[in-house]
């Protein structure tokens, strides 16, 4: 098989990961395997995977049918991710929730917290309560205790023992995955980039849906290798003498608005070189400390670093933001937030201030899963790119 063909097959597998995962999960569940549904990266996958359980993502990314259905119970003026997730479970249009033995909720905002209380009537739930302050001295011990509670709950519910050895193994595996993601972002540093932002998105989504981790890690390794070689041979996604404007995309809930934001940015000729914010680069750069004698401590220590806007103050995010802009040689920042995601929307202003101080062009777009604003978004994005190209 040629390298081009191999890469295209791997990328197809990533792109189809979610579709294929529903069959995988169905078979696994019928096989008696345990499936855990969760919503965000605060659900410690290391603990879930340690006893061999599968973790699936339950975040809704579509508008119709889940959102109109969810709005029969939830306020319309709520974040679309919460409505879509709830509506998909309520209407049984999410196979992953259907096959989940238990759903793990992480209290990443008030809207989600309250939605979990309603979800508890539909499915077995375990809610992990996050600390408010991401400061290790103030929050680490209580956060570790919260994760211990989660581990105990899994052990009791499924009658298993999660040993330190199990945890160490899953930490090791997921550290590999984490470092691969960081290496993937490195491909965006190249000039021209060795990977497009849309391709990155597809790999990021696959992280939650390629449940055979060994396969996922092998395929990612091969992808990174081929992309790097291709770039050296001038066969990357951009021609050698092409220098598209370099965009850093920041924000949360992006998977529900990929076509009208991410895809539009790249269709208009710009290159997304890195992502920042929810599921962005920041959290991928440091692995979990494998030398820590207490693996639960190591996990808690790492997860407290997730730079989520729900944390206050979210100092880590802002401290590292300009480093990312400089390291990836970014021409402009586009912050994308979804309707009613107040934490990220408000933090966007802080990013804007940092950008202004450093003379980095900045655009904030607010959108929703609902269609209708494609034209206006496109005009804003297009004007921003024209502005960058003229600098």
């Amino acid at each position: 098989m040629s390298k081009e063909q191999e890469l295209s097959e791997i990328m197809d597998e990533f792109a189809n990961a979610k579709k294929n995962a529903s069959i995988f999960v169905k078979n696994a569940s019928e096989n008696g395997d345990i499936v855990i549904g969760s919503f965000c990266q605060y659900a410690p996958m290391e603990i879930i995977n340690a006893p061999g359980f599968y973790n699936v993502l339950l975040c809704g990314f579509n508008y119709d049918p889940p959102i109109p259905l969810a709005e029969t119970e939830l306020p319309a003026n709520l974040c679309p991710l919460i409505k879509s997730s709830y509506g998909n479970i309520l209407g049984k249009t999410c196979p992953f929730a259907f096959y989940s033995d238990i759903i793990v909720g992480e209290t990443t905002c008030d809207g989600k917290k309250k939605m979990y209380e309603m979800l508890g009537k539909l499915k077995d739930m375990h809610v992990i309560h996050l600390p408010n302050v991401p400061d290790k001295e103030r929050s680490l011990s209580s956060w570790q205790a919260e994760l211990e509670l989660f581990k105990d709950a899994l052990e009791k519910r499924f009658n298993v023992t999660i040993t330190d050895e199990d945890l160490r193994k899953s930490i090791h595996t997921l550290n590999i995955e984490r470092s691969q993601t960081a290496r993937m972002y490195e491909l965006g540093k190249y000039d021209p980039p060795a990977m497009t932002g849309l391709q990155m998105r597809s790999v990021l989504t696959a992280e939650y849906f390629m449940l055979d981790k060994k396969n996922k890690i092998e395929k990612t390794e091969r992808m990174l290798q081929i992309m790097e070689e291709n770039w050296k041979e001038g066969k990357g996604p951009y021609k050698k003498d092409e220098h598209p404007v370099r965009i850093l995309v920041s924000g949360a809930g992006l998977d529900g608005v990929i076509d009208k934001t991410i895809k539009t940015i790249e269709d208009l000729g710009a290159a997304i070189v890195c992502y920042e914010g929810c599921c962005g680069i920041l959290n991928m750069r440091r692995p979990i400390d494998e030398s820590d004698p207490d693996p639960m401590h190591a996990i808690a220590d790492k997860y407290l670093e997730v730079p989520c806007a729900v944390m206050s103050p979210n100092t880590r995010r802002f401290e590292q933001f300009m480093d990312t802009v400089k390291e990836w040689n970014v021409d402009g920042v586009i912050s994308i937030t979804v309707h009613a995601c107040d934490p990220f929307d408000i933090e966007s202003k802080k990013l804007e201030d940092i950008c202004e101080e450093n003379e980095v062009p900045f655009l904030h777009v607010r959108t929703d899963y609902a269609p209708g604003d494609e034209g206006q978004l496109r005009t804003r994005i297009e004007a921003f790119i024209e502005m960058l190209e003229n600098r």
């Binding site: 202004e356 062009p361 607010r366 209708g372 604003d373 034209g375 206006q376 005009t379 804003r380 297009e382 004007a383 921003f384 024209e386 502005m387 003229n390 600098r391």
Partner: protein, 256 residues
């Protein structure tokens, strides 16, 4: 060779043709109507009647209907075009352009003749020409008369609803309460210029040279109200509504 700029907005389409010396050879405003393609073809027909054939010009299209002009050589957003056109029109290099359009209100910060930053209103029509149009209809007057009525208001009231639909019911209940037409008209204009001031606040440029373009720039009371809100004299130009089309035609000059 001629250079054609077409600014196809949500309400009206503005056309500018420049000659080789970058002088305005032809200009026209037509209603955009419901079919952008028909409007675009009508313009082509009109140009032919004026002796300009397709091979005689380069064309840049802008505005929300920019992709519906089948014979354009290039599309450029209205932000860049308004910036370019305003620089030419006002002979300024460092200033802020406000464009109040039919469905969008844009604030564009220009530095050294190039767009440095911009801001557009959200999806809804608050603070746009559409808002003014609907309120004028509710009061049974045209936009120009509404603005003149506003000038003679004795008791300044404010309309608190941002949403056009809610604001309309607010206006209807003001009419019901016997509030004078002049005062309601003042409230309507005040609502728009307040919204524009809010948008200006998001653009942090330090210069206080402000110019208004777009369909409302010919209305003196809008300029007065904006000047008062922004604390600086907001000026316009008789060709202000052509700024986008003019910018597009100037960009067309660069097409090889």
């Amino acid at each position: 060779m001629y250079y054609l700029g077409i600014d196809m907005g949500s309400t009206s389409t503005k056309v500018i043709v420049l000659n080789e010396n970058k002088e305005i050879h032809y200009k026209k405003v037509v209603p955009t109507g419901w079919n952008c393609l028909d409007t675009a073809n009508g313009i082509l027909e009109e140009l032919k009647n004026n002796g300009i054939e397709r091979d005689d010009f380069k064309c840049v299209a802008t505005g929300y209907g920019r992709i519906s002009v089948p014979y354009m050589d290039k599309t450029i957003t209205e932000i860049s075009c308004h910036g370019k056109g305003a620089c030419y029109l006002f002979n300024e290099k460092n200033f802020t352009v406000i464009d109040i359009g039919g469905q969008d209100t844009k604030v564009i910060e220009i530095e050294n003749g190039a767009v440095k930053n911009f801001n557009m209103n959200d999806k809804c029509s608050a603070g746009t020409g559409k808002f003014l149009e609907i309120m004028a209809n509710t009061l049974g007057v045209d936009i120009n008369s509404l603005c003149e009525l506003a000038r003679s208001s004795k008791n300044h009231i404010s309309i608190s609803s941002m949403c056009t639909v809610f604001a309309e019911s607010e206006v209807v209940s003001l009419i019901g309460r016997g509030t004078s037409k002049e005062d309601i008209a003042y409230g309507v204009v005040d609502s728009i210029t307040n919204k524009v001031r809010g948008q200006m606040g998001k653009i942090t440029g330090t210069n206080n040279v402000v110019r208004l373009t777009g369909g409302l720039c010919e209305i003196p009371f809008i300029l007065d109200s904006l000047s008062e809100k922004l604390g600086t004299e907001v000026k316009s130009d008789p060709l202000g509504r052509y700024a986008g089309a003019l910018g597009a035609s100037l960009f067309a000059c660069n097409i090889k």
